[in-house]
């Protein structure tokens, strides 16, 4: 392995800066660049225009939450219950039956009267901070591809996730913590944190939020044998050896870079122990969020953005709990309370700390569910029309945007595709989605590929 194999010097310079602990290296390279008067068109790390948000948090509900039971009331479902009008003959993953009414009562909340069902009382109470989009749509009715679409804008397994793109575009603010953290029971994984063809350092760091001890969440975070002072002494020895070695060899990017990375790692042990320790929160705060893994995840998300982490994803897991092919009504009654409580607590907490303005929060699943039943008391996957919501970070509060058809099956008014969502999220972070590109296999790739429109209507 050379220091820069397969990468041109330009790409290498382009690629540093967003990762962890490349500061020393970056400084040196910048210096050398100047000395050699190499002036490549570098990939600029940082916003392209004044951003509305510095951080983003995704609350991801795997499986596909049901829009007609939460945000998108459809009286026609009751009126035509059990029937199957032609307009609901859309092909989903499985064979479906007739229209299936929602048993949940809706009310209008906030200054503009946004519909929210009785399942979500906490979110309803802060609806004026929330931008509900009822007209989301995506392109595949099966979980895995739909989730890949949701996270990376594409089904192909080679594509980077949006969190990786954001790290690549913006870098991180805290060199002692990963720039992109994925919280989920068991540690998350899959396309959500994939760096694909982007350099590996942009990959999301999976953290198991069903654990509450930081050393159980992050691999190799603690040294089990040495106390900090003894470890410092050991590290001093390593660095003395390294300095001697570098004197003998001569100045070298890698040698210097690794000396720096060792120091960063040493400090990271303590910084991360603090950042990931939810038990240090006051009891009142912990109670506001609740005690489920998802609640821990939401609370950790706040602690992390507070410390400069760019992107945090919180998975409601494990598995795909929101995939209610049967017994959906009971399931929602059981599952919504802690989700509702923790999601609302996060938004409230961010707001109270003055962080909501600079943090874009996005809530949703890889698709929604059908208004028609599956197996009598369930709902199938529905990519044609579903609800997501955003809060903070330049999104308007207290509005409802777009409409689905009479039955809540497909988006018909102001439809917002998954690419539009990506374009808009990048926009609030100060990135033009058409300009954030990476050269791979012969062409320049984007998160939004050839699609995506910034949805200015959603923004303040």
């Amino acid at each position: 392995m050379a220091l820069i194999p397969g990468l041109s010097r330009r790409q290498f310079i382009q690629s540093i800066g967003a990762g962890l602990g490349t500061v020393g290296l970056m400084g040196m390279l910048a210096e050398q660049s100047a000395a050699a008067s190499v002036a490549p068109a570098v990939h600029r790390v940082g916003p392209m225009f004044p951003p509305r948000a510095k951080h983003n948090i995704f609350l991801f509900l795997p499986g596909g939450p049901s829009q007609v039971d939460m945000f998108d009331p459809k009286p026609s479902l009751a009126k035509y219950a059990g029937q199957r009008p032609n307009s609901v003959n859309l092909r989903t993953e499985r064979t479906t039956g007739g229209l299936y009414p929602s048993p949940f009562k809706f009310q209008k909340y906030g200054k503009n009267g946004v519909d929210v069902s009785e399942l979500l009382p906490n979110l309803a109470s802060i609806i004026d901070d929330i931008c509900v989009v009822k007209s989301m749509y995506t392109f595949n009715p099966t979980h895995t591809p739909a989730r890949a679409l949701f996270h990376s804008g594409n089904i192909a397994a080679t594509r980077p996730s949006m969190g990786s793109w954001i790290s690549y575009g913006l870098g991180t603010e805290n060199q002692n913590l990963p720039g992109f953290v994925v919280l989920g029971p068991g540690g998350g994984g899959g396309p959500g944190l994939r760096s694909g063809f982007l350099p590996a350092r942009y990959q999301g760091t999976p953290i198991d939020d069903s654990q509450t001890r930081p050393q159980s969440m992050i691999r190799n975070l603690r040294n089990t044998q040495l106390d900090p002072a003894a470890q410092r002494r050991q590290l001093d020895l390593v660095q003395a050896l390294n300095r001697g070695h570098e004197r003998a060899f001569g100045r070298d990017e890698y040698l210097e870079g690794r000396i720096q990375a060792m120091e960063t790692a040493y400090h990271m042990q303590f910084e991360a122990m603090d950042a990931f320790d939810v038990s240090s929160e006051p009891q009142a705060v912990r109670e506001a969020y609740g005690s489920s893994p998802f609640a821990n995840g939401c609370l950790l998300a706040r602690r992390l953005v507070e410390r400069g982490v760019r992107t945090v994803h919180v998975y409601y897991g494990p598995g795909q709990p929101w995939d209610d092919h049967s017994k959906i009504n009971n399931n929602l009654r059981n599952r919504c309370p802690d989700m509702d409580k923790a999601s609302a607590a996060l938004i409230t907490d961010l707001k109270q700390r003055g962080l909501l303005d600079e943090t874009a929060v996005v809530w949703g699943g890889e698709f929604g569910r059908t208004p028609v039943s599956e197996s009598g008391d369930g709902r199938d996957h529905n990519p044609y029309g579903f609800t997501m919501f955003m809060a903070g970070g330049g999104f308007k509060g207290g509005i409802s945007y777009g409409q689905t058809d009479e039955f809540g099956f497909k988006a018909v008014e102001n439809p917002v595709s998954i690419h539009d969502l990506h374009a808009t999220l990048l926009y609030v972070l100060g990135i033009d989605h058409e300009k954030l590109t990476y050269r791979y296999a012969g062409r320049d790739f984007r998160l939004t590929d050839v699609y995506g429109q910034v949805m200015h209507d959603l923004l303040t």
């Binding site: 190799n220 990271m268 988006a411």
Partner: protein
């Protein structure tokens, strides 16, 4: 790689997703009032038919309108007053008046405003006209393309004159020196002997020499000592472990699939392909044959059964999960993605060409057409991935067996899926399950003749033929009413929907029996010629059928959209590289594809592999974009050197060992790697090779060298893979299990490439998370303890020196002894000291 074709096609085929925007009124409005005006008044300048496209604006597709033109977006959905399109139509801006010659009528403009208010619904399907297959080519035509440098024949070139006649030791050095002299630079002095032997060991075996080996070499002043060393290392069995692993990056070797769901479970026999690669490297199988075997060993006469294992290159290629409940077009698109991966890996990997860029349209830069792409797609649409038996078996029986494997696998998947999740038509589902299970029984009966002579094969079929759970005794007599208030009987045996990674994960109820850990049953991952056909005749359930021996010619899919096939592109080789009619006639055409790569395209194939091998030795390629020798790629820094070496490589029968020796014996490769101020200023990236590039050990060599230093390295070769995190796994890293869905944490941390795609070369990162591993992991602590245990056996005064010999293969200097003594005297244990040494830069550095 125009993978977005997939997306686009899904948009189109999923009937309504793409049209989610459109109410019926909107569409009607568009058809009656918008489209006719666009056609009549705008297309002349703003469409694919335009003689000269104006303002980079396409109005002849939904895409084009959404994208806007050179000055950006032209409309804001729902807001005509903010849309530049309306501004242009209204002629309010004197600089923006469209159409320029005559304004539209007020009524026509009104309709455009109404249309935008509705969100600009646009029912037009098809690829964006910005990139239609029929668009005027922006890439090269064939004639020009044939003149591209990388396609020219390679021939030996007379070396240039150089002033310093003493430096060069191989022919390649003269090309290097001529460029250095031109730039006024001198090469670096020869590396000292201790550096040279360490470099050579790591380079050719991925392991370090022992202290004794270093010292013996340092003292050996015979003139051919270095050459002897290289010969000895090339003959070492460890050579194949090192260089086989390099190849596995090119071949994106992995043992499962990105999602590993019901239809794309892990490959339990993939490790045999890895072992085959190691053996082939050690045997110095000529590179052309090495590649041809991986494409078509089964179709090359006289090939041994052992060499058929090479087919794992295709047999364990990554595939996507195809949930059979999706429509025919969705399933077809997923197959197209699988085939796309093969085209990409074969063309970038072997030819340095980005042919996959031509999936939706002709290549925008290189002389590669969509027809070329689909001609190759036909090859991969005509093969089926199934395990083959290790034992010799007559061809007819083997073909029947393989066809049965595929069929049983699919029937079993389908039956279990419908049994577990019957959906809203349980009665129909039950009938289908019974039919599918019946066919499984029939196949098992037909294949029962295997029991006596080939019991392993019969067992393999039995394992695939998983019968769905029997239905309860009591037959369902109630009519099925998929209506809300009718509670269906609880479905027994339905797997927990939350347990799996994806919906399909549950469908193949016994997927876990195949396990993730691999199998030693006598089979290997492979392919055989059988056309793949997708049968969408059942609206609810899409079947996949194969036809053994039948090859498919595929249609060009403009925009990559399988719902709108274009003309058939018969299987053949890439036109610009073909010397004559290259149509494939034998089966899928795999063998002919391999032949053409090494006849018609031999110069390109040779340049590509010579460049890769050069890069693996020097840490820096001659052509920086190792898998793109096209227009968008970089030009060679030393074109004559590359051509000459490639020509001689071919002349030496494509022998990689010859190539290694030629490179390793060069003066350029024996230079010291220390920085020099003058040269750093003149050529900071070492483009001219004024020094050897200092490198860093990759994930494999780093771990192997730590194990070697601690004395724990298990050098057993070959066999089933083990997870790196498995306690007591002290084998070389090349034998680690490689996951495509979840890569081992250590490998991921140290820049191992994702095995889902061809890797043109690894990037190298230096991150704090790597250092946390080095400082705190159980692996490092264990190896430090192992090392301390060994060193503790020698007298106290010798321990530091002993430790240095084990870790660095050298003696410590006085200041290093003092550092160590001070550390130990201050309370540090020998194990902690060992870990400090193992953590230091000198271990990972490869000067």
């Amino acid at each position: 790689m125009m993978r977005w074709a997939l997306l686009l096609s899904l948009v189109l085929v999923m009937a309504s997703a793409a049209r989610a925007a459109d109410s019926i009124d909107g569409n009607t409005l568009f058809e009656q009032h918008i489209r006719p005006v666009l056609v009549e008044r705008c297309y002349e300048c703003h469409s694919a038919q335009a003689k000269k496209l104006k303002g980079k604006l396409h109005l002849d597709s939904k895409q084009g309108i959404a994208q806007g033109g050179a000055d950006g977006k032209i409309l804001v959905q729902g807001q005509p007053e903010k849309s530049r399109l309306i501004e242009a139509l209204k002629w309010t801006d004197p600089d923006l008046q469209m159409p320029p010659k005559q304004q539209l009528s007020a009524e026509q403009i009104h309709w455009f405003e109404e249309w935008i208010k509705l969100g600009a619904p646009d029912p037009r399907e098809g690829s964006t006209s910005a990139v239609p297959a029929s668009a005027p080519k922006r890439g090269m035509d064939l004639e020009t393309g044939r003149k591209w440098w990388a396609f020219q024949p390679v021939k030996e070139i007379a070396p240039p004159d150089v002033k310093d006649s003493a430096w060069a030791s191989r022919k390649s050095d003269q090309f290097v020196l001529a460029k250095l002299e031109e730039a006024g630079l001198k090469p670096s002095p020869k590396a000292d002997r201790r550096t040279l032997i360490r470099r050579a060991y790591l380079d050719l075996t991925g392991l370090r020499p022992s202290y004794e080996q270093v010292e013996a070499f340092a003292k050996d002043d015979s003139p051919n000592a270095y050459e002897k060393l290289i010969d000895q290392l090339l003959a070492s069995q460890h050579y194949g472990e090192r260089w086989g692993r390099y190849w596995l990056d090119v071949a994106r070797y992995g043992e499962d699939n990105p999602t590993s769901e019901a239809t794309n479970p892990p490959y339990p026999f993939a490790w045999r392909y890895r072992d085959w690669v190691i053996k082939a490297m050690n045997d110095d199988v000529p590179y052309d044959r090495f590649v041809k075997l991986q494409l078509a060993a089964d179709e090359m006469p006289g090939t041994s059964r052992q060499d058929l294992v090479a087919l794992g290159f295709l047999g364990a290629g990554p595939v996507y999960h195809k949930d059979a409940r999706n429509s025919k077009d969705v399933i077809t698109t997923l197959y197209c993605d699988d085939w796309d991966e093969r085209i990409d890996t074969v063309t970038r990997g072997f030819l340095g060409l980005t042919v996959a860029c031509a999936r939706c349209h002709d290549h925008k830069f290189d002389p590669i057409t969509s027809k070329d792409y689909y001609a190759l797609q036909g090859v991969f649409a005509s093969v089926c991935q199934v395990p083959r038996p290790m034992a010799e078996v007559d061809p007819q029986t083997e073909t029947r067996f393989m066809a049965a494997e595929q069929r049983l696998f699919y029937l079993s998947y389908a039956a279990n899926l419908l049994r577990g999740e019957p959906g809203s038509k349980p009665k129909e589902a039950r009938q289908k399950v019974e039919r599918l299970a019946g066919e499984m029984d029939q196949i098992m009966e037909d294949m029962s003749f295997l029991k006596s002579q080939h019991s392993d094969m019969y067992a393999q079929l039995q394992q695939l033929a998983r019968r769905p759970q029997p239905y309860p005794q009591r037959p369902t007599t109630q009519p099925v009413q998929p209506i809300a208030d009718v509670q269906p009987a609880p479905r027994r045996g339905r797997p927990n929907a939350n347990a799996g990674a994806g919906a399909g994960a549950n469908a193949f109820g016994n997927r876990r029996r195949r396990g993730r850990g691999g199998s030693t049953a006598p089979f290997f991952e492979a392919v055989f010629d059988a056309g793949t056909y997708i049968d969408g005749s059942d609206q609810d359930f899409t079947m996949v059928n194969i036809r053994p021996g039948e090859a498919r010619n595929m249609p060009v899919l403009p925009g990559g959209n399988p719902a709108r096939p274009g003309e058939i592109s018969p299987r053949r080789f890439i036109a610009v590289l073909s010397r004559d009619d290259s149509t494939f006639h034998e089966g899928s055409g795999r063998r002919e594809l391999g032949e053409r790569i090494f006849t018609d395209a031999a110069p390109l194939a040779a340049r590509v592999i010579v460049n890769r091998v050069w890069a693996w030795h020097f840490g820096k390629p001659i052509v920086a974009t190792q898998s793109d020798f096209g227009v968008q790629g970089d030009k060679p820094t030393h074109p004559q050197l590359l051509d000459d070496l490639s020509a001689r490589f071919i002349a030496h029968d494509w022998s990689l060992k010859w190539l290694h020796k030629e490179i390793m014996l060069s003066a350029a490769c024996q230079q010291a790697s220390n920085p020099r101020d003058d040269a750093m200023r003149a050529d900071p990236t070492n483009e001219l090779i004024w020094r050897m590039n200092p490198r860093r050990l990759d994930a494999e060599a780093f771990r192997d060298c730590i194990l070697q230093a601690s004395g724990a390295l298990d050098t057993t070769m070959f066999g089933i893979s083990m997870d790196l995190d498995q306690p007591g796994n002290n084998r070389r890293t090349v034998y680690a299990r490689i996951g495509r869905g979840r890569l081992n944490n250590y490998l991921q941390l140290f820049d191992f490439p994702e095995a889902t795609m061809h890797s043109p070369g690894r990037e190298v990162t230096t991150t704090p998370l790597q250092q946390l591993f080095v400082m705190n992991s159980a692996f490092m602590e264990d190896q430090a303890s192992n090392l301390a245990e060994v060193v503790e056996k020698v007298p106290q005064g010798d321990r530091i020196a002993m430790m240095y010999r084990k870790v660095f293969g050298r003696d410590p200097g006085p200041s290093e002894v003092k550092l160590g003594a001070d550390y130990l005297a201050g309370g540090g244990t020998l194990a902690q000291y060992a870990q400090a040494l193992l953590s230091s830069n000198e271990v990972q550095f490869w000067p």
